[in-house]
Every structure is written in structure tokens, then in C-alpha cells.
């Protein structure tokens, strides 16, 4: 048992924090907010050069073989700068699903390209009627003579507009009818019948809704074999939630630091705000919740490779708890900044909005406490 970072992990943290501090300021973020791409291709290239795109990919596919803890370190630094590059979509979700489910040729054709920055991915899974239930997929993939025909609607696809290839989940209908299994399909973005309606994303970056109508795909568009992909989807989403949790910690830390600084310089009634015990105690609660969130993000990262129930409970517990902490820290940061906190003139709002997006993505606190409870009844609590 040792939770001290290794030298490599410490170096990764330092270089990520240095990069974010040097490249991501308010002006940069404002420029990106008005950009149809929503991120900087030049920065993406630098990510590749720094080895961050290769980080979790296995060495045999040109990766560095890093784990969830390393991703967490990177994501926390990204949170500090509200980084909007499609890292979760491409590396944490996309590459992980391919590595987990793909055949050898599918992996060989794509993972080295993710690592070198020449292939961007997205994961289209959520549907409006499913809410946060990962098992509920209405999109259908019919087996055809030549391959597959996909039809359905997806929402909240992170960075789908920028992806070269979109991984779409669909229920497999073979010649006998519904198979009861979910498959993952590699859909090149330019495939006829794929309509990507992208929008600005709350808190920075972009996301899209995707309509799939009569999308014809070749036989080898199916990722891996015809076994049910639901366990892999749950695994990948749990990993993504751990990574997003670490990002939220970085965001919360900035809000805490900024708010603390403000309460020290802002004077009312002839003294700094922080001279009031009610303000000091609020800040103490914020600091405590940032610390609890940090513990939970690390815990989820350390358990991503545990057996499924333990992993899922750690991920849902972290998502639920960090979501609550994020709302509290975000809302109180605005409260303590007073009226200015509600304006676009300060950056507090941008950080807050990213936290709200975090809490919503893949299900909010209520959903994940519920999932945690549901899973708890089938398992002996550790």
C-alpha cells in the first residue's frame, strides 16, 4: 500500500501543469468558444508529441502502457485549464473500447494512429429515451448480405464533430431477428446516412447529436466478434468517469484558490471578507470537499481494473460524491464572489459550468448513488 506518486508520475504532473499554465489562459478559451472546432489542432499535435495520446495505449500498438492513475494526473491538470481537446472521446473512451473489443487488425489499424495524433475518435452511445441506463439501446444494426445496416439516434456524443471515426453502439439483429446483444460499430464520419448536429458544450468544447438513417457498413465495421459489448461499455464508461472525476478535482482546486484569494482582498465593512468566521468556515468546507473529491477520484482510478462490481461501485461512488462536491464548491465560489460571480466577466462561471457538465455527464449524483446501492445488494461490501 503506497499512495505516494512515483518519480514518473511526479514528472508527468509537473509537465502537464506547466503546459496547461503556459497554453491555456482566458483569452485562449474565449477564442476557442467562438471556434467551430472548439479546440486547437496545434495543441492536439503537442499532446501527441508529449506522449499524452499514447499514454494508456499498450506498447505493442505504439503506446506507453500507462494506467488510470496517469490519466487522472493528466486530467486534473486539464481541469485546471479547462482544456477542451477531445482527449476523453479519443483516448479514454475510443481507444480503450478498440483495445478492449477490437480484433488484432482493427487495433493495429487504429491505435498507433491515435497515439501519433492522426486519428480522432468519438463514442456514440447515449440515447434520449435511455436517460443514463447504459443497457438501454434502441439503435439497431441489421445484418445484411454485405455487412450491416444501422438506424437510430444518439445524443451527447462528446466531440463527435471532430472525429474521423465514430464508435456507435447498436442492438445486433441477425437473420433470425434480435440477438439480445449490443455491438459496437466503427463508423467513418463521412459515411452516407450519418448526420452530425454539433453544438457548443456547457463548460467548453463541443458535443453532438447523431442521426443514423440507413447507414450501410462493411462486415468488419463490427468491433471484435458478435459477443455482447455491454460489459466493455460499462468498463469504458467507468474508466471515463474516473478520469472526469480527476478533471473535476482540478477545476474545483482552481475555484477554491481563486475564491480564497478574492475573499482575502475584497473588503466590505472595512475588513476583508475572510475576516468573517462564516466565510472562513465556508471555505474550510470547500477545501474539505475538494480533498474528499481528490480521494474519490484516486480511489476510482486505482480500482478500474478490479472485478466488475467493485470497479463499478468505486466509479459510481466517485461520480456521485465528486458530483456533489463539485456542485457545492462551484455554487459557493459564485456565492462568495457576489454579483460578479454571476457574470461572464470573471472566469468563475466558466469553471462552474464545466462542473455542472461533469455532474450531468453519464448520470448525476442521484443516478450513481442508486447504481451504487443496486450493485451493493448483489455484493458483500468490502
Amino acid at each position: 500500500m503506497d499512495l505516494n506518486p512515483s518519480d514518473e508520475q511526479r514528472l508527468l504532473r509537473e509537465s502537464a501543469e506547466r503546459f496547461v499554465a503556459g497554453s491555456y489562459d482566458a483569452d485562449h478559451r474565449r477564442k476557442l468558444a467562438n471556434d467551430p472546432l472548439g479546440f486547437s489542432p496545434a495543441v492536439w499535435k503537442q499532446f501527441a508529441e508529449l506522449g499524452w495520446l499514447a499514454l494508456p495505449i499498450a506498447e505493442e500498438f505504439g503506446g506507453l502502457g500507462g494506467g488510470a492513475v496517469e490519466i487522472g494526473i493528466l486530467m486534473e491538470a486539464f481541469g485546471r485549464g479547462l482544456v477542451s481537446e477531445p482527449y476523453i472521446a479519443t483516448v479514454v473512451l475510443g481507444a480503450a473500447l478498440i483495445e478492449k473489443c477490437g480484433s488484432a487488425p482493427q487495433k493495429q489499424a487504429r491505435l498507433p494512429k491515435v497515439a501519433d495524433g492522426s486519428l480522432k475518435l468519438a463514442f456514440a452511445h447515449s440515447e434520449r429515451a435511455a436517460r443514463f441506463d447504459l443497457a438501454k439501446v434502441a439503435t439497431v444494426a441489421h445484418k445484411t448480405a454485405q455487412g450491416w445496416r444501422l438506424a437510430g439516434s444518439k445524443i451527447a456524443v462528446l466531440d463527435g464533430h471532430a472525429a474521423d471515426e465514430i464508435i456507435v453502439s447498436a442492438h445486433i439483429h441477425d437473420h433470425q431477428g434480435p440477438s439480445g446483444r449490443i455491438g459496437l460499430f466503427l463508423v467513418p464520419a463521412k459515411t452516407p446516412g450519418v448526420a452530425v448536429n454539433d453544438h457548443e458544450r456547457l463548460g467548453g468544447g463541443r458535443a453532438c447529436n447523431i442521426e443514423l438513417s440507413d447507414v450501410q457498413l462493411p462486415e468488419d465495421a463490427l468491433l471484435g466478434d458478435r459477443s455482447d459489448a455491454l460489459p466493455a461499455i460499462a468498463w469504458a464508461v467507468d474508466r471515463a468517469m474516473a478520469a472526469l472525476g480527476a478533471e473535476a478535482v482540478g477545476i474545483m482546486q482552481v475555484l477554491l484558490d481563486t475564491t480564497l484569494e478574492y475573499t482575502k482582498v475584497r473588503k466590505q465593512f472595512g475588513r476583508p471578507l475572510s475576516a468573517n468566521q462564516v466565510i472562513r468556515h465556508r471555505l474550510a468546507d470547500m477545501a474539505m470537499q475538494v480533498d474528499e473529491a481528490r480521494s474519490m477520484a484516486l480511489r476510482a482510478a486505482l480500482k478500474v481494473d478490479a472485478e466488475p462490481v467493485e470497479r463499478a461501485r468505486a466509479a459510481s461512488g466517485a461520480k456521485a460524491k465528486i458530483g456533489r462536491c463539485a456542485r457545492f464548491v462551484g455554487e459557493q465560489s459564485i456565492q462568495l464572489h457576489g454579483g460578479m460571480g454571476v457574470t461572464e466577466e470573471l472566469e468563475v462561471g466558466a469553471y462552474f459550468k464545466r462542473l455542472v457538465a461533469f455532474d450531468t455527464l453519464f448520470g448525476g449524483s442521484a443516478h450513481h448513488y442508486g447504481r451504487h446501492a443496486q450493485l451493493g445488494r448483489t455484493a458483500v461490501p468490502a
Partner: protein
């Protein structure tokens, strides 16, 4: 970073498990489960202390030359966790975890030679004389006075919230020996034999129906000057050192987890009409479990940091605050889970020696008293408000 134990640590875990399995009697386990106050009564608690002492495990935090087992932080974690899992008695911490470290840190060689072995063996039973009726959070305003008379101090005043004063044969106390420019000055740390003439003890019943705390009165009580620890007037420094032990000795998550587990089991049983089937109860159990997970990780992060020689700092305040709040959440849940059985009051103590059949199932007996007594968790050892002051000052610099 890694949560798993090394081979050596796993071997130690096996050693602790088999030691506990061999030595923890059913009677001790049942008595511990049926004690709704902080500490086990001395007959149970000290029996376990003697068992630990025989094994050389009587004082996990002490240096090896005074009889500590020389464990790594990870070993202490394993020991505390396995102890909580097995449900060992809650040994009163006043000796081993509180006055012991102060005597080791600041006591004379004579004091070390005399007191430390008696703490280890359980021969002495200690209580703490800190709070006074007029000095709660503002502890350093204390007024109990020790006036020098030859080789003795003559002590007059009163102490309150004195846990197990009615069982203890010794008390460590903060007393005023002079009036300095600051109220923290002029306080001394003294060791008092509870059999000294002039000491009287008044029981105070807590709202759960337990007699755990007392008020102690000092009426011209003679205490040898040789019983003062360290320098005269420096008691505040020693007392604060000890309070950090009280807060930071915290490997608390394992105990919280066991408490929650017992409640979750009740919630899944027919005794409560399967309270778990209420989504509200199921979710609240998860909320508390997740809070315990977070506390456990913070404890492990602190342990890792301590292993590299770092200081706990304000983290001990975070641990105290969260432990007390979560403990209250656990007990609140306990009351809600047992439903109508929460109305049945069992006034007899100890609950493990009832001479009649209680009105509610045995596994529910402690729920309401623990909840009621447990309101004290956010008050003793520095209130939650004081802890927030400390966090703001030490962590945030405001």
C-alpha cells in the same frame, strides 16, 4: 500508487487475524457490540488491553524502547482495520494514546519508568481533566488552580466531561499555576492519583441513558510537584500535542464501516420489514458508504505521506471532522432503519447484562442510545466549529 498490500504485509494481516480469532472471546465481542458509548467498560476494555500487551501489541504508536511494536504505518492500518472488523473492545484511549505520548515526549525518566509500564499492562486506568464548566471550546481559560506549598501543589476547582472518571485511578489534568499575559501561559500538566483526599466525582448521564462522563471536584487536593510533566507553565503546549493525537490517531474508517454494515444487515432483514426496499434508505446507505470510502482514502493518503516523513498538519482536523460527521450519519441511519422499534427505551446498563428480555431485538438495542450519545462526536475533542477554524487557519491561511 498502489492499494494492494505487499507479501510481508499480507502475512502480517494473517498474523493479526489469527491472533484476534484466538483471543477475542464471544463475551467480549457481544459486550462491545452492545455498548452504546465511546469506550468499553474497563472489565471488557482492560481485558483486551492485557491480551494485546502479552503479545507486545499494547501500544502500537509508541517507540520501541518503551514497548511499542515498531510497526510501519501500513502495519498500524492493518492492525486497526482487522481489529475493527473483528469487533474488538474499544479500549479507553486516555492511557495508551493520550497521556502515554505526552509522558514519552516530555516526562522525566522517573515518570517514564513508573507510568509507562502500568499503562501498557492496563494496571493504571486514566481519565482526562481538561474541560471545565466555564471552559469548553475556550479551553485555555481554565480556572482550576494549583498553588505551590512546599513539595506539593494544592489543587482547587472542577473538571467536567471526564470520561470514565468513576473507573479511573489516575487523571492527567491541565491546571493553572500562574497568570501569564496570555491565558495559555501559566497552565501546567499534572498527573493526579484519583484516591487523593479531596476528590469527589459526580456522575453525568448522557441523553442515551449512559453513564460515561462525570464532573470531578477538587477540594484542597495535594499533588506532589514531582507529578508535574515537563516545565511549570508549559502545560498548554503539552496539552495541544495530546489533542493532535486525539484527533489524528484517526484510523477511523474501518470502525465506521463495521457500524454501517450492522445497520445494512438490519435493513436487509425481516426484523425491519426489509427497510432496504425503501429507495430512500438504500440510497442513504450508499451515501454513507461512499463517505466512508472517501475518509478511508484520505487516511491512506495521510499514512503514505507520513511514511515519507511528512507532517499531518490540518489533515488531522479534516479526519476528526469527517469521522464525527459520518459517525453521526451512521447512527442517524440506524434509528431510521429500525422504524417503530426506536420508540422502545431500555434504561438498564450494561445492555449485555440485562436480567430481563428487552422490548426490542438485541441487535437494535444500541441504535437509539448511540444516535443520542453520538451527538457528542462533533463536540468533544474540539467542536466542528473549532476544527473549521483550524482548517481555515492552517490550510488556507485565513
Amino acid at each position: 500508487m498502489d492499494l494492494s498490500f505487499t507479501t510481508a504485509e499480507r502475512a502480517f494481516q494473517d498474523e493479526v487475524r489469527s491472533f484476534i480469532a484466538k483471543n477475542l472471546t464471544e463475551e467480549m465481542k457481544r459486550a462491545t457490540a452492545l455498548t452504546p458509548s465511546v469506550f468499553s467498560d474497563p472489565d471488557i476494555g482492560m481485558a483486551w488491553q492485557r491480551t494485546l500487551h502479552k503479545q507486545g501489541w499494547g501500544a502500537p504508536g509508541w517507540p520501541i524502547e518503551h514497548g511499542g511494536p515498531d510497526w510501519t504505518p501500513a502495519q498500524r492500518w492493518i492492525f486497526e482495520t482487522e481489529s475493527a472488523r473483528a469487533g474488538v473492545p474499544n479500549v479507553n484511549v486516555m492511557g495508551v494514546k493520550m497521556v502515554g505520548p505526552v509522558i514519552i515526549g516530555f516526562g522525566s525518566p522517573e515518570q517514564k519508568n513508573f507510568y509507562l509500564p502500568r499503562i501498557l499492562s492496563g494496571e493504571d486506568y486514566w481519565c482526562q481533566g481538561y474541560s471545565e464548566p466555564g471552559s469548553g471550546s475556550d479551553l485555555s481559560s481554565l480556572k482550576t488552580r494549583a498553588v505551590r506549598d512546599g513539595d506539593d501543589y494544592i489543587i482547587n476547582g472542577t473538571k467536567i466531561w471526564t470520561t470514565h472518571a468513576h473507573h479511573a485511578n489516575r487523571m492527567f489534568a491541565l491546571v493553572r499555576t500562574s497568570d501569564g499575559p496570555r491565558q495559555q501561559d501559566g497552565i501546567s500538566f499534572v498527573l493526579i492519583d484519583m484516591k487523593t483526599p479531596g476528590i469527589t466525582t459526580r456522575p453525568i448521564l448522557t441523553i442515551g441513558g449512559d453513564h460515561e462522563v462525570n464532573q470531578v471536584f477538587f477540594d484542597d487536593v495535594r499533588v506532589p510537584v514531582a507529578n508535574r510533566v515537563g516545565e511549570e507553565g508549559k502545560g498548554w503546549t503539552y496539552g495541544k500535542y495530546l489533542l493532535e493525537f486525539e484527533r489524528g490517531s484517526g484510523i477511523a474508517s474501518a470502525k465506521l464501516r463495521e457500524g454501517l454494515k450492522a445497520i445494512a444487515e438490519l435493513a436487509e432483514s425481516d426484523l425491519t420489514g426489509r427497510a432496504i426496499d425503501s429507495p430512500d434508505i438504500a440510497t442513504r446507505i450508499s451515501e454513507v458508504e461512499v463517505d466512508i470510502d472517501a475518509l478511508e482514502m484520505t487516511e491512506l493518503r495521510l499514512l503514505s505521506a507520513l511514511q515519507t516523513g511528512q507532517n499531518p498538519g490540518a489533515v488531522s482536523s479534516i479526519l476528526k471532522l469527517r469521522n464525527s460527521e459520518i459517525r453521526q450519519a451512521v447512527t442517524r441511519l440506524g434509528v431510521d432503519v429500525i422504524g417503530h422499534d426506536a420508540l422502545a427505551v431500555e434504561p438498564m446498563r450494561p445492555l449485555y447484562k440485562l436480567n430481563h428480555a428487552p422490548a426490542l431485538p438485541e441487535e437494535m438495542l444500541t441504535m437509539v442510545p448511540e444516535y443520542l450519545n453520538g451527538r457528542a462526536y462533533t463536540i468533544f475533542g474540539g467542536t466542528s466549529e473549532i476544527q473549521r477554524d483550524i482548517i481555515a487557519k492552517m490550510m488556507l491561511g485565513i
